[in-house]
């Protein structure tokens, strides 16, 4: 793979990281309420998976989906404005942090009910199949969602109908406070595929190249008409479930585990081995920072939606 492309991945990872840091910072300053669910430490999955897609392929993700939106090409300005509930946000300030969407970029939105978007992704994939349009859908979800009925029902139906869908499970070890080993009697979530007749693979989610390879193969299979694949990416969550999470981990060491598993320094090592210079890495970080600084400024400058528009968009 060309260094230029890998540097672009690196810049995207930083764009996601800094977006999430700005999101947490803005939340703590009171610039918006509700909560926000950062994907800090999970950036390699967003970037590696998105790189395996054509621009017209569709992505559906969860409330921890800012990174997927960025990797799919969404504008961080309208995203941050949406977090701040501004009229200039991607959803007109109605959705907020957990409901981002940009149909023009084929980012078909993030969802705030765990696993509920998985059958919807199946339906989008079914539409692709019926229209023979050669597009593939990737649906991201977590280890928690892999326990929900909607997930199992979709594994069954999507495999039965061989729809062009790729299931990407981001196993970060926790569903809020419930450890994966308390919830799932399997070593790997990918094993769930065995009972449904589709391939399941487990990869290191902290390495964007490993994610890219696995998703590329799954996408190719889906595009050939051979049906879905379940790709499990082992990863680590940021220190808390969301900005308002009340509970604590057993110890500080565990809460800070994400810093040891941070994919960004790891990927830097790979890039240096490939010949990247300090200057190149620094300019990637700087561009990511500038984009996010501008995004935050854009969001702050925006106006909230007008009260008289509160009933817009209920019905078509």
């Amino acid at each position: 793979m060309k260094l230029e492309m890998l540097l672009n991945w690196y810049e995207q990872m930083w764009t996601i990281r800094l977006f999430e840091e700005n999101a947490i910072g803005s939340y703590r300053k009171g610039l918006f309420g509700g909560s926000t669910h950062p994907c800090i430490c999970q950036e390699a999955i967003c970037v590696g998976a998105a790189a395996a897609l054509e621009s017209t392929d569709q992505v559906l993700a969860t409330y921890r989906g800012h990174g997927h939106a960025i990797a799919k090409g969404m504008d961080v300005k309208t995203m941050m404005a949406e977090l701040l509930c501004k009229e200039t946000g991607c959803c007109g300030g109605r959705g907020g942090s957990m409901h981002l969407c940009d149909m023009e970029k084929d980012f078909w939105g993030t969802n705030a009910v765990v696993a509920a978007h998985i059958p919807i992704a199946g339906g989008v994939a079914l539409a692709n199949k019926l229209r023979k349009n050669n597009r593939v859908v990737v649906v991201f979800f977590g280890d928690g969602a892999s326990c929900e009925g909607a997930f199992f029902e979709t594994l069954n139906m999507a495999t039965l109908w061989k729809v062009p869908l790729v299931f990407v499970c981001e196993n970060n070890g926790f569903a809020i406070s419930v450890r994966t080993e308390w919830a799932i009697p399997l070593q790997n979530i990918a094993q769930r595929a065995d009972g449904f007749g589709l391939p399941g693979v487990t990869v290191d989610g902290q390495d964007p190249l490993k994610v890219y390879d696995a998703v590329t193969e799954a996408v190719a299979r889906a595009r050939r008409g051979d049906g879905p694949t379940l790709v499990e990416c082992k990863t680590t969550r940021w220190e808390r479930h969301s900005a308002i999470s009340a509970g604590k981990y057993e110890n500080e060491e565990e809460a800070m585990k994400w810093k040891r598993n941070d994919p960004i320094p790891r990927f830097e090592t790979v890039l240096r081995e490939q010949g990247a210079t300090d200057g190149q890495l620094e300019s990637c970080r700087q561009r990511a920072k500038q984009r996010n600084d501008e995004a935050l400024e854009f969001a702050i400058q925006g106006e909230p939606p007008k009260p008289e528009t509160v009933g817009d968009f209920v019905f078509a």
Binding site: P119, I120, G123, G149, V314, A316
Partner: protein, 340 residues
Amino acid sequence: MFGKDGGHSPPLQQTMNERTLSMAEAINEAIRHEMRRDPNIVLLGQDIGAYGGTFGVYKGLFDEFGPDRVRDGPLCEAATTGFGVGLAISGMPAIVEIEFIDFITLASDALCNQAAKMRYFFGGQVRVPLVIRTPIVNRLGLGAQHSQSLEAWLMHVPGLRVLIPSNAADAKGLMLTAIRDGNPCVFIEHVRLYASKTSVPEADEPVPLGKLRVAREGKDATIATYCGMVKPSLDAAEKMAADGIDCEVLDLRCLSPLDREGLCASVRKTGRLVVAHEACKTGGAGAEIAQSALEGAFDYLQAPIQRVASKDLPIPTGKLQDVVFPSAVDVEAAVRRVME
């Protein structure tokens, strides 16, 4: 099996040479018409293929449109409805059959949290042309999990339309409306009405959303009702006419949006209101209907509003179920109370 109770046809005007259809045939005709018009429409559900649907509503559609568009699927209401949402936002209008309205619980997240809200929280970026077809299947002795009327739950969700016809003509017109509306619509049918026949126009005549039908004009008291209680209400009205009590019977047809203006206009005329439905009383649609009349026509009311509904109980099997459900006798008693 369900054809015996054909006496439920409402007294819609019928002239010579007009063709009649059963409600099942009328719904079938509307869907067939729309599927011919729009090749993107897809049907999802269980037993909907060659079998033709649990109650036969889809007879012949599989043969005409094939397995891609009439997709018989596994038993999984949650994913089936979720797939329907996915098709809908992709620009392929989906019609999902939930075999009994009691099972809407299994589809409720896809319907209430997803379909109803998605256009809103995505700031208008998607359209959700989704129709959920589901029948009330009561008074057949199928017991507590197959006999409920859950329309009030659905009325309580902003972003959903709730259509609930009582006869074949309205069923056809409302199905055309539901499909063309391009928004999530729950289309509630009734097993005892499937076989009832009325004159149904061959023409393409959608019924406007949120407009009630005056099933019987009258001046003394209004009976506001819908679906399975329209016929018993008309029967009660005819019986009381002999005693000089002239009831107006409103078939609401659409619970969301509710025709509050049409309701209040009738109450202003008669000054008395009885609300009748087969769902249980507490938290039922009747509460919303009665309150709407209070808000819009309080000064005209000459008596407290009466509600006729099922008892607030799980529904038993066997003869015992008759104790739970309301009848024409209960409607008559309620009208006589408001006339006192």
